[in-house]
Symmetry: C2
Subunit: 384 residues, 2 copies
């Protein structure tokens, strides 16, 4: 009765976790939610009355201009005609999946990578081949090998404060990945939602800005630096891809809600933007440091981790590899939510013994009590 | 390089038309846009601060409750757990396509039917089989035959003020279609965006309310009765379909923008709702009557039509069948936009000599001058 892709709809684990985190009193290390205190109050002034009407599929012209200018400031050569406003990054992933993926299409991702991207790629039938992440990003020569071995024409990467690992690619790796894409004519899909959440001085130059000839798509979002409830993100793409992406967008939801687009425009062009972002970085880096200290107290003998230079997550590698999915039901029952690491790996690269822990949501007290419960459970679980 | 579905992305005709209608001075009979004068001013009061945060994939609980109550009032037995808020009706069509359609999947539509639904179904690879529309809707026995001949498991219908034809199914046809769906276990996808735009006393009982055992999806939108810029619509589905639809929604854009959902909630629960809808019906029925008179003046010898009892469109059948797509470039150049009728037919049921003319957007003066230009062109074109 249903389409074949319904057999590929992956488990409801994430939904279960997110729904559990709605329960009062739950200590959540699970989501990538902005801290409620850091969410701005919407400013509805200055929005034209025409925003109530249907709008263009590409997005509001003023917002596309502001996004293009912002992107040029970080090194991406583009103009507004290359910007497609989308209904959040997840929709960007849906549109790119539609553009490139048939059942059986090989694609390349980092291992681990963003769970919901994997879900979308696999829903469309992709066979995802993982390239392992090192401390500087993926190895570009390994990327070349995998592309040649599998025939993959699309690579999805999150080079800056990667989800789930927190990794930030080095400048050398960024250039090497771009060069590999150019040499192989491999389309690069770069997802960059965390770039404004930077706490240490690291290179954040988009890989897309290094690309000379390969097709590319740069994606970002207003969900992490502004507010997720508006569901506004954007793609910037090489001109060869744009006409297809725009028509796919039109077939998918006509256009993104216009009031949200105008809020995003107000945010991006506000004279107070730099101050707001500086405040956000300060608040989140304090939370990161508190979590780092709490982890050292509770997990020092149980796991290894690198303090993330940006983003929203710690990525723990347990010294004794266990299937952390099995911890979850008991932890949710005890009021602690976390993301098991296994679900972030493509099926071709299974791996045990990782956990992703968000630090933006819990209070300092919750961090300590939650991590104590979690550490106790890890300690009590024998190796898989 | 691209997926196979990109070969199925249909022509950019509609985009060309809609982009032409943005030009100043254009007389547009093309879109289904609400009249600018009828668009309300958004009321942002009473929206909780939490609307800035991520929200549930299913939609805001308060909105889902209000939608379920509204649906029960028109005869659909349902509760809020069966409501999925979507980012406009087009997304509802995308999700239903994802749920049911693989390349080669046969489905049934009316002939003619809503162009953008056809585009979505065909993008996913459906083979659309058209059942001809009569004055009372489709013939239920013909529906049974086509379902049995083709093996189609899904039927898409717009029984109330159908797009493009304006047809409103009779009470008998509604019951007969539901019975056919029940007998065959055929999933019924009922699209009902125009139901509030009613100008004559006709039966508008949703077909889904007659269904006893077949799976069903009822879809509507806030775009026609409230404002399209918020991109908020909804599906109500039989309980067997809901878990899949919710997970597809999550994979597609996580959730619909929350501020738009709260505006829709304010609209639906407003004590002034009945007055507002009464005003809208009065304004649009006056426009319909003006268009009817202008058509009689300019098209009486050229075409036949039925005065639509609701909705936004006149559907003209030309006495001399011509390919109306060929008129379009010259008409756009002369400042008149319309929708050629051919594009509303599935490929398996081609048909010439129809035009869809919207009456909600143009002023009375524009109706006369625009229809005069259009009639002149039709008169000058020889039969195909």
């Amino acid at each position: 009765m249903f389409s074949e892709r319904i057999d590929r709809l992956t488990s409801s684990l994430v939904r279960d976790i997110l729904s559990a985190t709605q329960q009062p009193g739950m200590i959540s290390f699970a989501g990538g939610l902005p801290a409620p205190d850091e969410l701005p109050t919407p400013d509805w002034s200055g929005i034209p009355a025409s925003a109530a009407q249907y709008g263009p599929s590409e997005g509001e012209p003023a917002l596309r201009e502001a996004i293009a200018e912002d992107a040029r400031n970080v090194g991406i050569e583009c103009d507004a005609s290359q910007v497609l406003v989308v209904s959040g990054s997840q929709q960007g992933i849906d549109l790119v999946s539609k553009l490139f993926i048939d059942p059986g299409t090989p694609i390349i991702t980092e291992a681990p990578t963003y769970l919901a991207a994997l879900q979308s790629f696999e829903l469309f039938g992709a066979v995802c081949h993982g390239v392992p992440l090192g401390t500087d990003g993926i190895d570009a020569s390994r990327l070349r090998e995998v592309a040649q071995d599998t025939g993959a024409r699309l690579t999805y990467v999150i080079p800056t404060f990667q989800n789930p690992s927190g990794t930030c690619y080095s400048a050398e790796t960024r250039a090497a990945v771009a060069e590999a894409a150019d040499d192989l004519g491999l389309t690069l899909f770069e997802d960059d939602p965390y770039r404004e959440l930077v706490y240490n001085n690291v290179d954040r130059t988009p890989i897309c800005s290094h690309i000379k000839s390969a097709p590319w798509i740069y994606q970002s979002s207003f969900s992490k630096s502004f507010m997720p409830g508006i569901r506004v993100g954007y793609l910037i793409a090489s001109p060869d891809l744009m006409p297809h992406l725009v028509r796919l967008k039109q077939a998918t939801d006509l256009h993104t809600n216009r009031f949200g687009q105008w809020l995003a425009h107000g945010h991006l062009t506000s004279p107070g933007l730099a101050d707001r972002l500086a405040h956000l970085r300060q608040a989140y880096s304090a939370k990161r440091d508190a979590m780092d200290a709490a982890l050292t107290e509770h997990f020092n003998d149980l796991a290894e981790w690198t303090t993330p230079p940006g983003g929203l997550f710690f990525w723990l590698r347990l010294r004794t590899p266990i299937d952390t999915r099995e911890l979850l039901p008991a932890m949710l029952e005890r009021g602690v939510a976390f993301m098991p690491g296994e679900v972030f790996f493509p099926a071709t690269a299974p791996s045990l013994g990782y956990m992703r822990l968000n630090f933006s949501h819990a209070s300092q007290e919750q961090m300590h009590s939650g991590l104590a419960i979690l550490a106790e459970a890890v300690r009590a679980t024998p190796a898989a």
